[in-house]
Symmetry: D2
Subunit: 326 residues, 4 copies
């Protein structure tokens, strides 16, 4: 009988995965069941929504995932869903399955998809999941803290060997469009210089900074290069070698290691709070918003604002790196 | 010649040490030198201030400490400094050494000492360093994030073995007067129940909650007991065994492990920002304030307010644990 | 048709779990399938063997478990299996399921059970899984290396804070009957003294050693106390406080944390090699033996010898701790 | 008075640094002082020997270094020392300083230098320090276990995200001449295939293996490529992408991260045992030997044999990877 049917929330993860997606899924499931709602997990992001790949998620199904990296629901990029036809199909699948609302966990592109569904009348709330911290409308996204710690641990290891050898280390981090992650990381890694999309620095300037560090008597130098900085990591290293800056330069390319790892306490806490808040929001009738951290509170921001604004690196952090590397 | 003398800032760490004190010291030193000020490190907290145990800290002296736990300046508790006579002696030592201002990194008791000096005309700024997060006037203190991750890593290991065996684990954490650390940790550890000073729970209630978890089909249960909860950890474990709650109960007492470890990215970032802000404040003539995190910003709060207000655990977190443990 | 039936190997984990049991299970399954044999996982140790709780394990079923602590097959202690009646029942269950041979992963008690089955004609090979390293017939058991690293990481954290404060830390480790784990750990932790079942040391002697460390100018002291040393950890700490040995003493009880954690490289390698070797042994018709590490090789040792000899701590290590703590 | 002069041991670290060098230095110093000998630390390897850069090392000077990566004595490569003239100069410096014997911690090249000194009458004992495990005459070198765990932790993180995305990951590890490290690591990482100098595999064969993994239903594939395998990492990734093997391929280049990190328990234990053994050997009049692990014992091997034999990867491990990746 329709009247007895529980309110059913779908949950999906989309785009590049980020650590903390699993705790967010767990929070959604447990908060929903606490509030007498039901949950359908959507496998493989929007692609699974299109294909109707749903599975019921009870409270025990999310046991033991709090500490696991990645996402148990898997994720993908779905070009088909970018088109109106794909979205129509997805909505049909949701209706067939009796899904009353949807929670989307992902980065900027994924939240665009969420907004498109909202515009077509679907009840949807987004959670920002991104290691790059490039989502507007939240102080920080789920996954950024873990990624920052992962890079930091790697650089700490480099420093052990650096001070035994007098070396400069050039580390490539993620951050194709936004240098936020790199800017924060530079401070906590004691980097000499951070190369990010938002600030243009020439190879010669980099060389000068490293040479200065050498002459100031530092035993090593750390350079953080965000993917989207405009400098190819290998070419930059070769250029520095050719310039003779005092230190010899060695390269580390972290790659997808930055997406992995058990989520930190900070990311778990953020994911749990946002997951609970999203369920509460849907049950109160909210839609078309994203949960965001504002100071100490989790608040709702319209998805329309989220996707029409661009987040850039905090340049205060960028400057501070130069002070602290003295 | 006196006119050429640089503005000289003393820096000390006091009370229980917390991870992140070293990055804070490094930031103070590097920011001071960037601003043409000089730094004297005070060894052993207020006790060293009393005894004039100062050493000059140049930019190279704080190289390689960013990732180290503890504090290179050591710390102690100083009953002598609690008295007016001790404070007078300390001020004389500061004047002898040409120390123009002081930065104090520590918990509530240490900040009280800082306020006493301020009242006697010393220029002083405090930084909150506390794993318990019991300092009023800042969203979070330096060291809390690291401690939370340390406890979480320990509980993650317990969970590995717990689900192989069907066990309840009782973990004693720090938090003599304030359950903040325990309340946050409970969420990220997936605890069934958190015992904190702010909320009274009887042994019978604990037993009932664990028994419920057993009957709901959970493979294990985690109980977090803050030192100051009113429950002795060993006695509580014995009581649970006697009650037969389904699971057998095993005890872990983490002790000072919670104070150690390389500071997390979050704590390093917070310490760096606060260290820089404190130096800026002193150079602008500020005194009698503490740097605190308010949302995304580091702001000054009067020490008078800090020490006359009491921080307690966030009870929203306390409740959320119960929801998420379902 | 019976003639086409694959050779079927059962695999179970028993007793206290140890990190590396999952890689061992994975190796058994993958090596078996490579050799055209089939595998049945026995849930819950000998208790599951008695109850016929078997599940088929294909190569994909053990994907993703290489890095997980605990055991996916769960484990238990089974008093019923200790009796002839229980063993008869277990053999009947094995026959019913077409299980041709059994691999048992566990400590001394579990290997006794394996020998009992062997005596009754069951083809069985054992793998030593024990964090205490108390199994005779192998240089080291699966799980010991991980446990040693876990304790070491905890003590490293204590040392951070210890040198900020001048403290003695008393750490209780596992090792009820055998001090092997504690003796190895003492060296790698820089312990002042190790208390183990094999060597009797009085409280006064412990106090003298710690006092000596204090007068020699050490900034901290580490005491490792194995569960079975004869000293109650809390009482020993109180006694040291009462004696005034220079340092104040703080207690850490690690408990089951020592059983958890992702297995180290060493434990994974050992588990993989032993799992493969056990399958090869069964297919060659061997029975009643345990795989053991002898130097660089994995060799078979008769279970009869394994269970009739007692492993004790390496006293060379015990002595070396005293030298290295100077 | 010459008669009262203590036997004085020099200690140096040379070549590429490896985790565990610091515990080895600590063990040398503490064992020497226990035996009434004195220790001079040589800064910067053979270069420092040539230049007479010695500093006295007392028992307290090596406090707090047990857990630190790198080497407090720093290291370098010294072309000058490769020539007879340089060696003569070094011997003169040793005599000037009253250095009676030398302990050299390093890889193959460094041990060649030690042998050259031995041939010229200097009392010298070597310790194998190498993350590549390419030193003949010991089951394993100091640093290999830590490097293996570092790579493994990185790959574990990749696997989190890999199974969310269906990816192949290509990881470049160290190992210019010897694939030992890569071969061991492949097993513990669950690699599909390991590329090492000792075994030639074509790009087509790699592609076939990854495609097989895809069709067998694996959610990801790991490829370990040792530096000296003959395959350039980036080019190999591009070739795999061009071949369309089912998975898309992503690259990680770990670089010097593999040399860093706090030494594992295994490496600390090995370093401590070898350091003590080297001191004992010198005091017993031994020279021209290296301490090596043989099974459970530390034994001496003539340096002449060490440098005239070449260590290669264990091909048993290489094969086992293929079995376990099924």
């Amino acid at each position: 009988m329709e009247m007895n049917k529980l309110f059913t929330i779908g949950v999906l993860t989309s785009g590049g995965d980020s650590p903390g997606m699993n705790p967010a899924i767990r929070a959604v499931v447990r908060a929903a069941h606490t509030n007498n709602a039901d949950v359908l997990g959507v496998v493989d992001g929007y692609e699974g929504l299109l294909n109707g790949e749903f599975r019921h998620l009870g409270v025990r199904d999310v046991g033991g995932i709090l500490q696991r990296g990645g996402t148990i629901l898997q994720t993908s990029r779905s070009p088909r869903f970018m088109e109106a036809k794909g979205q129509r199909e997805a909505i049909r699948r949701m209706n067939e399955a009796g899904m009353d609302a949807l929670i989307v966990i992902g980065g900027e592109g994924s939240l665009k998809g969420a907004y498109a569904l909202h515009q077509q009348g679907v009840k949807v709330i987004g959670l920002p999941g991104s290691i790059d911290n490039d989502v507007w409308g939240t102080d920080i996204s789920i996954g950024t803290d873990t990624a920052m710690n992962t890079i930091m641990d790697a650089v700490d290891k480099l420093r052990d060997t650096a001070s035994s050898h007098r070396r400069a280390f050039l580390i490539e981090t993620m951050g194709r469009n936004c240098g936020y992650l790199a800017a924060m990381t530079g401070i906590v890694c004691g980097a000499e210089i951070i190369l990010i999309p938002e600030v243009h620095v020439t190879v010669e300037e980099v060389g000068k900074i490293i040479e200065d560090a050498y002459t100031r008597g530092k035993t090593h130098a750390i350079i953080i290069n965000a993917e989207g900085s405009g400098h190819n990591t290998t070419e930059l290293a070769n250029a520095l070698e050719a310039m003779d800056v005092g230190f010899t330069t060695r390269v580390t390319i972290l790659g997808h290691i930055q997406r992995g790892g058990s989520p930190t306490a900070y990311d778990r806490l953020l994911a749990c709070r946002m997951g609970v808040k999203a369920v509460e929001g849907l049950l109160e009738g909210k839609s078309g918003v994203m949960t965001g951290l504002k100071g100490q509170d989790i608040e709702y921001t319209p998805l329309e604002d989220v996707i029409s604004n661009k987040r850039t690196a905090n340049l205060e952090y960028y400057q501070m790196t130069r002070v602290l590397a003295r």
